[in-house]
Amino acid sequence: MREENGQKRAEYEQIKAEKNLKRLAYDLREDTVDLICAGKAGHIGGDMSVMEILVELYFRQMNISPENQEDKNRDLFVLSKGHSVEAYYSVLAEKGFFSKEELHRTFSKFGSKFIGHPNNKLPGIEMNSGSLGHGLPVCVGMAKAGKMDGRTYRVYTVMGDGELAEGSVWEGAMAASHYKLDNLCAIVDRNRLQISGNTEDVMAHDDLCERFRSFGWYVIDVADGNDIDELHAAFEEAKTVKGKPTMLIANTIKGKGSSVMENQVSWHHKVPSAEEYTQIMEDFKRAKEAF
């Protein structure tokens, strides 16, 4: 097993060197599903939909690493949809912020640092989250501080689409454009499902792009938010925007990557059975082979 892990690690390094982030996203999906099985809990559907967003941010966009945690010009990230913590932990472990072995051994277990929502006592995590509608306003404060001090960092936050029913999101959206925070980029993981069903049935959001535009944001509609190339182009475009914050509406698929989970509301929070696990891993393998 140890040797296997070593081989896997070497393979990852090679993949990253080639900037083959598409495969990395699927490797981290595997890690995430394993983590959920180990901890016997997890918001698996949203973990799968947000994966390419996190991979693009952590492995190509953001100036952030375990070595620059004290650097005042490091980029800042808040996972506002804190329940996608399994995907987030997997990305941070891959980035070297903490041990993957300890993560998988202790996640959600008694006394663990790896709580079921982001814990900023862990390296690499700036803010605690979990209660929805907090990330954007907090990031407004971070971006405002950057403007006050003439810092070069950028601030990123990922929200869920169900989360947008929280009024505090719109308070933050107002303030971000009022203060012309072009160093702030928010992303909506638009997977169109929340715990009670279709987002448009629970509390309609369309047209989301128009809503954020009317709040003074520069909006980029990412047609396939699970396509890393498309995300890359959108993040690059966001960096060129002056005088207003940028919102990426990333149209994703909940449970992305496996026929077992995709677009199934029942997979909002679920631990796969042994049979489902086998099928999921097979689907991931097939997806990787296509790259």
Binding site: K72, L76, N120, E126, M127, N128, S129, G130, S131, H134, P137, V138, C139, V140, G141, M142, A143, K144, A145, G146, M148, D149, R151, G167, S168, E171, G172, M174, A175, H178
Partner: protein
């Protein structure tokens, strides 16, 4: 300075500190006027953030600023700051451990006839229940000055409640005994003790004077540090008196009285009686009229002390 409103004193101390410390940032939610922070906004526009009428946003933005090295002072009416923004105080400030000082202005029943929507009679209970949150309620401008200076030196979350109006001083210029997180003995006595905070300290002091004229010796403890409560001072006081009256501008549950009774009950059981606002919307009137109505004045406090010593 004695009759400067406590909120104004906070602003004056912060303005003085902001001259040399560019990381001090004040935030208001359309509350710069009511918070006496207009001079700060005018003199330090680069260190002032207006959030509009959005108290949740106020607290989250303060936390984000603090995360990036700012010393954030979020100034907003105590009624909204303490309960409208409660979750932001809990998650973004206390749980995430950001250097945010929450300044609850016009606290208690300061807004008088404006009614229950504008009263903060639950803030001590609410904020004290949050781990890593401290709660301070200074009594007069002198103590507010000392407290604000002390808070500038630390990087931990805190909630500070002050009233709307200037209050008569408890202390005097040049003689302001203050030790951070230690209650101040306003006057000493051995028959009974009055433990009070905020605007209730002055009437408690006056009550002790009235009782002294009758030969009843009363200790008054200014418990501006509601959390962390000065437990040693409470225990030491309980050991040396026959009974304790607590006085607070707060609902009867979960406030100073509850906390003092908890400590006394555990360490040195004595009779503890709490004088507070009622468990109901308070009667319409100015804050003074409200205090008088519920016996939260020198005569009412003295009467309660006489009653429990009988």
């Amino acid at each position: 300075m004695g009759n400067t409103a406590n909120k104004q004193m906070i602003c004056e101390v912060l303005m003085e500190a902001a001259k040399t410390d560019k990381n001090i940032v004040a935030l208001c939610s359309d509350s710069r006027g009511s918070g006496s922070f207009t001079p700060f906004a005018q003199n330090y526009p680069e260190q002032f953030v207006e959030t509009g009428i959005a108290e949740q946003n106020l607290v989250s933005i303060a936390a984000g600023l603090a995360k990036c090295g700012k010393k954030a002072y979020a100034v907003s009416p105590a009624c909204f700051l303490s309960t409208r923004s409660y979750e932001q105080c809990k998650i973004d400030v206390a749980y995430s451990d950001t250097n945010v000082k929450l300044i609850g202005i016009s606290g208690g029943v300061s807004y008088g006839a404006l009614g229950m929507s504008h009263h903060s009679a639950q803030d001590i209970a609410a904020l004290s229940a949050i781990p890593n949150m401290r709660v301070y309620i200074p009594s007069d401008a002198y103590q507010t000055e000392a407290l604000t200076k002390a808070l500038l030196k630390d990087e931990k979350p805190a909630y500070i409640r002050v009233g709307r109006n200037a209050v008569d001083p408890v202390y005097e210029e040049g003689n302001v005994p203050f030790e951070m997180d230690h209650a101040t003995v306003v006057c000493d006595g051995s028959d009974a003790a009055i433990v009070a905070c905020g605007e209730m300290v002055k009437p408690a002091k006056d009550a002790a004077k009235l009782l002294g004229q009758e030969g009843i010796s009363v200790r008054v403890l200014d418990m501006y540090c509601v959390k962390p409560l000065d437990r040693e001072a409470v225990i030491e006081t309980a050991k040396n008196v026959k009974a304790i009256v607590t006085v607070e501008e707060h609902a009867p549950f979960g406030g100073l009285g509850s906390m003092v009774a908890q400590v006394v009950g555990e360490h040195c059981p004595k009779k503890v009686v709490n004088l507070s606002l009622p468990d109901a919307p308070v009667i319409t009137g100015t804050s003074k009229e409200v205090f008088d109505h519920y016996g939260l004045n020198a005569e009412g406090i003295a009467a309660k002390v006489r009653e429990i010593l009988d």
